[in-house]
Amino acid sequence: MPTRKTIKKPLPSVVKEMDEWPIYKAYENPDLFLQKVKDLVKKNATWILKDDDTLRNEIKNIVYQEKMRLSKTPWKSDDPKEKIFWSDIKKQVRSSKAIGTEEGTKEVDERILNQILDFYGTEMIADFKISSFKFAQKALPYIYSRLINSFPQIVYKLFSSVDKLYDRMKIMGDVDHIRKLQEIGTVVVVPTHYSNLDSPTIGLSLNNLGLSAFTYGAGVNLFTIKSLSRFMHNLGAYKVDRRRKHRLYLETLKSYSTIALTENVNSLFYPGGSRSQSGKLENKLKLGLLGTVIDAQRMNLEEGNGKKIFIIPVTLNYHYVLEAKKLIEHYLKDKGKENYLEDENTTSFGLIKRAYKVITSNPGMTISFAPAIDVFGNKVDENGKSISSTGQKVEVADYFKLNGKLVRDVQRDSQYTQILGDRILQEYKENTVVLSSNLVAFVAFQIIRKRFSQFTVFEILSLPKDETTIQTEEFILVLAKIKEVLLGLEKENKIILSSDINLGMQELMKVGIKKVGSSHPKYVLKRNKSGEISTQSMKLLYYYHNKLTSYGLEQYI
């Protein structure tokens, strides 16, 4: 059984010498790394190399899409040299002979393909500079102390030491197990995604666990300020351009992730894709990058090294999400996917400004590391051995074997990815930490919803304030009922309750109301002297309530 504990101070690194870290070794020779990526793309992208016509048409299609992207959705972060590159590729395509008519066409196309792959690889590749990492580790507290000078004195007092930061930032999980797995194999961290603050939060958490640095994909829109871009680049961030949707780019991205994993580099990705706009727990994952853990595990076995890949789902639990208003409004407008153009405004500097604002004004956050699983979703024991749901020890190699041999089968592996995705979702659910803020928001919204049970969510969100006021007595009654159900769920290991939940009803209500979305200009919940609980923003109340909608609690209201 995993032993969950909370860490308050950074732990020493599992591998002390940074030049021994896989990330350092992998990026020490970028040419070799990129060559491996390129070889893997060519091995896997059989569709593009099917015949000469397909290759030529794919290249034409890529050039067209890239040129369209540059003209229709240009970003500040776009490299000015890119235009020249694609024009040159276009020229090369034009000047080569027509398809299939002259000898040498295939060679020309393959050369062009290599140039495109080199271009993508060079743009994508991260680095790991020990000096940058050490600087980041040491400078963080100083940056904080400098920055908080510009905040009101009260914030300064609240935040006068780094220790205070860790009081607000609770990191829980089977820490010893995770640290041990780092010695045995490769660790892949897959967090839930609510906020732009997630990356700095998780980065700091992983460092505090003493794990070797992680490589991770970061949107190109975050690489706008040169010095900061360089800094992120040197800390293992590889560039991902979400505007590019064509198969060759996606294949390159997947191959990049696969090679990093086979090089034993710890990796981080958000399988939910974009941030949860509704505030709900992820219920569907994007399986593209997640599938690379299966590929990489098989390749490790084929190489004969058998290095194991361990997946650690992480839930991020906030009392306050800075961009909650924007997110919930997007969700309600049913816009679907994140609008990347708007995301362009999220510059590195903007992100840091937001991060400081949230950290210095945040009533707290909990980062919950779930027990590790293998790439098929099996639990792993203290030595990293896989244990099936029936309690048997199983070998990961057996999943890839057909008639005694390791076999690559894309369709099978896509099914395995689906199984892993489902397991991650289950871990998210079971390792969500119920904060007092989520609980009071849930209770308040559900009371209102029950009051207007014939109304749609949209109609409820438009109710006037006097219709949504709740008396303390009613609130406490429902709060007690839901708390009891939650305690039952916790006993069955189906959820985690934060320590606040153990408070008496009155105190729990007060703390929760105080903390829920505490820094929004409009209050999410407030209780006046006559004991009436009200909200200034039904949308925000709905957003914070949504965190607990995956547990069937509504029936107890």
Binding site: S388, K401, G404, Q411, Y416
Partner: protein, 344 residues
């Protein structure tokens, strides 16, 4: 030559072992030592001659070591028990393709008033739950054991989420007397092969009463619609019901006295008592259980008039003509409503 395994020495298990022996060495697991002897020495069991490439064993250890492709063909009532015994010898390297046309119910259906979906498992779901095997599939279709054992030409469908399983199943089974089709609609195929059992009981009743082909065609068509409604309510698509496991198996079982379920319905219509029929049958008639399961799942809102009528006849002593009256006086819907509606 590849070695594959069959678990179960019922009529279908034996027939399947013989079919597999066309392309493979076959190990067949028999629980009782005397059956091992019959198969290995007499080379005959339950009236079926045993192919020379079939060898009976009664150790799971040997079976799972020598064979990575296994076909469990065990009645649904014994399936879980069999899996519990087999599970310690299985690993994710094994592929299991079952041929059991039944459901596993997690509770005693005689003691509950309703069922929850989570309490009803198909055999492949049960395999996933009870073992470490992930590559699971099923075979289903118009496969009456007697005809298979007579080497009459026929066909089946191998369904699995994994193409690899379908390919292995085809390689093992396909021959010039047996055509093997593939499908990824494993849930639909499994449900079709279960639900057709009670339609076959109704078909037997019709024949027992003396109705002809028009009546039976009406029954089969609307029976299939009912199967689709149920399948959709459980998350399956209608596709599988149009294939060999659906319409194919319905055609066979609703027209054949070789079908146990058909014989149950036929004998009921002839005035025999259910308990008597079942004891004479000496084998499982899954349809009787399925009628009750469908009834207990009624809360999911699918349309199942035929199952409702059969339930009243089998479990509540309705006369057959009462059931017929009930069905013939129901409002009629669109002919192909199962394509357009979730339920009608």
């Amino acid at each position: 030559m590849k070695k594959v395994a069959v678990i179960g020495t019922g009529n279908f298990g034996l027939a399947l072992a013989n079919l597999l022996a066309i392309n493979n060495e076959v190990l067949i697991y028999a629980r009782r030592e005397e059956n091992v002897q019959k198969i290995n020495i007499k080379r005959e069991h339950k009236g079926q001659p045993i192919h020379e490439r079939v060898t009976a064993v009664n150790e799971f250890n040997q079976l799972t070591k020598e064979c990575k492709l296994i076909f469990p063909i065990v009645p649904s009532s014994n399936f879980k028990e069999m899996l519990i015994q087999l599970s310690p010898f299985l690993s994710p390297e094994h592929i299991l393709i079952h041929g059991t046309k039944g459901l596993h119910i997690e509770v005693d259906i005689n003691t509950v008033e309703t069922l929850d979906k989570s309490q009803v498992l198909t055999m492949s779901e049960l395999i996933l739950k009870e073992t470490s095997v992930v590559r699971v599939g099923c075979i289903a279709g118009p496969n009456l054991a007697k005809e298979l054992s007579e080497k009459q030409i026929g066909g089946t469908v191998v369904a699995s989420r994994y193409n690899e399983v379908i390919v292995e199943g085809k390689k093992a089974l396909n021959s010039n007397i047996f055509r093997v089709y593939g499908s990824n609609e494993v849930l639909g195929v499994e449900l079709a092969s279960v639900l057709k059992n009670y339609i076959a009981i109704a078909a037997g009743m019709l024949e027992g009463i003396g109705y002809g082909d028009n009546s039976k065609a009406l029954l089969i068509t609307r029976g299939m619609a009912e199967m689709v409604f149920f399948g959709k309510a459980f998350g399956a698509s209608e596709k599988a019901f149009m294939g060999l496991a659906g319409i194919g198996d319905l055609m066979a079982t609703c027209n054949s006295k070789l079908s146990r379920n058909f014989r149950v319905g036929y004998n009921l219509a002839k005035g025999q008592n259910l308990l008597e029929i079942l004891s004479d049958l000496n084998e499982v008639a899954e349809g009787i259980k399925t009628i009750k399961v469908v009834k207990l799942l009624a809360g999911y809102g699918f349309n199942s008039p035929l199952a409702d009528a059969l339930y009243k006849i089998v479990y509540e002593d309705w006369e057959l003509n009462q059931g017929m009256d009930y069905l013939m006086n129901l409002p009629v819907s669109d002919d192909t409503d199962f394509f357009t509606q979730k339920d009608s």
